[in-house]
Amino acid sequence: MKSKKKTAKKAPKLSPKKKPAAVAPKISSLEAALTLDVKTEGLEPVFGAAYLMMDKAFVQLSGDRAGKITVILRPKDPKATTPKALAEEFLSDLASQKVRWAISRNNQPVREFIAEQAVLIANGTIPPPSAAEAAPEPAAEELTAEQRAEIEKLISEVESEIKTMNEKKSVPDPKGIKASWEEKQEQENKA
């Protein structure tokens, strides 16, 4: 469907001009140690990637959640895997975790909104979509002015909701947890 009016802003690609320095693991015969910058990698992705290693490795973290975290990985079964393999797997998982967490953050208000809507529908406070509402959308050229207005209204409601969530100042956010990964990247590039 084509809309003549504005749509949500396109977020920048996850390929900044300045690539962060690759993480160089320190490998010994017993363990692998990776030091990660939380500002670059994100706190949740670091924890998430470390957490996912628990089936193969004993994992210990040191450092500072606001600064750098060192992840130490020791194989549970040295015959099944090596510290080097664990380090590689961790970095691979870290890259995926960054994407997963970015998607989660960017969509949290929408998820919460729909969850609330579900409760309201189930409790009968608002009606479920009718058969007419559920009908397939007409092709773009056939949209009436009313349909366009309805769509615009929905988009602006969600944008407003997202804006309100982001502007809430009730809790200080020194670690920039609320900022999306893209926003942080933009700030990094400007710095």
Binding site: L43, E44, F47, G48, A50, Y51, M54, F58, V59, Q60, L61, S62, G63, D64, R65, A66, I69, R74, K76, S104, Q108, R111, E112, A115, E116, V119, A122
Partner: protein, 149 residues
């Protein structure tokens, strides 16, 4: 075995929960300084060797991470999960006060029916159930930690 755990990474709540989770395998002793917790892991099994103690310490570290990451995720999803938990508990509760027994159960006919059912059942139990009860036998010991699970 001692482990030094940075307070800027790990919380006391996570430490306490991890110690409880592993309490069937280890004793955990806690000291703290301004910047760190120092945790001493002691295997409950007296014959545990160095490698086994190291593995137990590793398990403790993993459980710590499990709890810390769970806190992070819990906080992130708190609005949705609170909504779900509250909704399901409230719905299941069915209201503030339970419904009264239906009027049909208060009639003399119903009460008589129930009394007869009880009487007949008790009579049948007395008539048909074995009289002699076997010894209880040895009480099973608790499952060992290495039950292969």
């Amino acid at each position: 075995m001692k482990m030094k755990l940075a307070k800027k990474i790990y919380s006391k709540d996570a430490l306490l929960i991890a110690a409880q989770v592993l309490s069937n395998k280890v004793n955990v002793y806690l000291e703290e300084s301004k910047s760190d917790y120092t945790v001493t892991i002691e295997a409950k099994r007296r014959d545990a060797g160095k490698e086994q103690v190291a593995a137990l310490a590793g398990e403790f570290g993993n459980e710590l991470l499990n709890q810390e990451y769970r806190f992070l995720v819990g906080r992130f999803n708190s609005k949705i999960s609170s909504l779900i938990v509250t909704q399901t508990l409230m719905a299941a509760r069915g209201g503030e006060t339970p419904a009264a027994a239906p009027a049909a159960e208060q009639t003399p006919e119903f009460k008589k029916l129930v009394a007869d059912l009880v009487k007949n059942a008790e009579a049948e139990v007395a008539r048909t159930m074995p009289r002699k009860i076997a010894d209880q036998g040895t009480v099973l010991p608790p499952v060992k930690e290495d039950a292969g699970v």
